[in-house]
Symmetry: C2
Subunit: 327 residues, 2 copies
Amino acid sequence: MAETSETVSQLGERGTLARILPLLPTATSVIVPPGDDSAVSMVDGARVVTTCDVMIEGPDFRLDWSTPHDLGVKAMASNLADVAAMGAVPTGVIVAVACPPSTEVSQLEGLARGISDGLAQMAPGCGVLGGDLSVAPVLTISVTVIGELSDRSPVLRSGARPGDLVAVAGQLGMSERGLRLLLGAGNDPAAIRALRETSPEVKHHLAPIAPIFQGIVAAKAGATAMMDISDGLVLDATRMAEASTVTINLSAELADDEPALMGGEDHGLLACFPPESTLPEGFRAVGRVEEATPNAPVLVGGEAPPVSRGGWDPYRDSSSVKTRVSP
Amino acid sequence: MAETSETVSQLGERGTLARILPLLPTATSVIVPPGDDSAVSMVDGARVVTTCDVMIEGPDFRLDWSTPHDLGVKAMASNLADVAAMGAVPTGVIVAVACPPSTEVSQLEGLARGISDGLAQMAPGCGVLGGDLSVAPVLTISVTVIGELSDRSPVLRSGARPGDLVAVAGQLGMSERGLRLLLGAGNDPAAIRALRETSPEVKHHLAPIAPIFQGIVAAKAGATAMMDISDGLVLDATRMAEASTVTINLSAELADDEPALMGGEDHGLLACFPPESTLPEGFRAVGRVEEATPNAPVLVGGEAPPVSRGGWDPYRDSSSVKTRVSP
């Protein structure tokens, strides 16, 4: 039986999750189950928002590009954005770090400073509630964030309605442009260093600052749906459109901007607002929600997206990643 | 500068943490800061208990001993016990798993079933609030648990007072005895399989069931201090004694039971109760709290513990672990 079992790389992340998730028990406390950017559950009468994201050397970062400080900032941005995307305020993070025994303590100090600076910039008042420190073959950073909604309802992916304005806060495609610059530098340390020092795109790719506060602003402004843009605008808008059973028609102006449409890791926010809304500060319009068109969850200027990509899958893409990460 | 930096294996876990923790910001929401079994922080007016523990193939388990189902149960036991040790009820777990792409999906299904069975046995109603799935060189399981206190105060390590009864719930030394049996089996798969099928000690070492409900029972019974016993009774009692500025005098009957005194990973509960208490169900007396004796946080029958050990350190001990794990 074991011999005939598929591997996670054969099934991919989505296929693997489809096999595992039905086996896991639902918490009686749950209000918003896993599947959105964050889950929401009741703890002593309060709604608590939780999310988790892991970064691992190899599939997620390479240490000749990223400093430990960068990684601390990025770990905060990617996780805080998932809480912000619910309209919640992050109140605490739990950080588990595992590294080879030969790791210099100064590296972990840099990581801690990056976490601290990332929190100070994106979520003042949010601090570290604990964690764990262990040994692993490669640097592994697992972060869980908890947050609070105050009196607001969580903003889900599934609330977009035909006629809604589609808007974005934060960068679109900047991380992808930074990645391309870094890939262009090959393995030349001087070229990488020069890019790190001079390129805003590279800085954003390595240590993004996510528009966390805008998540709360959007919720207060009546956002009907929201999510963070971590896998590219088209793929994430597809997820929102499918969850909401609508079609999202993005602006034709984006048609030629492949990094904006397909680039991941910007950690901005995608949000929908009622048709006549004035967009809150920090958001710009990128399209409209329409009635669902069969097999076309996302259009760009009314047409199929110019490039289609399945999005990042850590298992299926791991061979290409390895090529990319360790050429 | 980087050349002169110490490594984490040179500084050890405690030394490394001493360098990192001061760099991390405290959450304004915090009530019980990191350092106890769990942290407690405010979320929308409620006190939320959080804890985190990582298990990594190599330092924490070997796959020729543990089935994925075992690992799921153990990951729950070790984490739930940290919430129970505060007197809290676990309400949700967040599970991040990373594994090699060649991992069979059936392995992850086994892990999920172990998580499910562990929760059903130890924390009914507690479920999975989300997580992450990624790629790593070795199987890595990072768990965060959240819990609620209802109207109870969190039970800290620091509340033990001279005269208190010292008591334990759950197993003492059983996990260590199971470990010794497994080590005695060498790398013989048939011998390992036989032990797995017949030895309660081995079963407890690989897939412990922790006395989670007893944590709430102890809190309701007025426990003055509590913690989970994960690194051996003497080491954990030392931590409690130091946090409480007392000496814990363990029963002389334990003097010859080295596994009970020094063995880790039982995930039972160590609790203190006011002098005249009737111990709640599930607890048995193992000693008394005394006024602090200098340099003797823990005694056994009034004497220094018969064996002293520094306890488990994943960095410092990693070379010996590797010898143990991959002989």
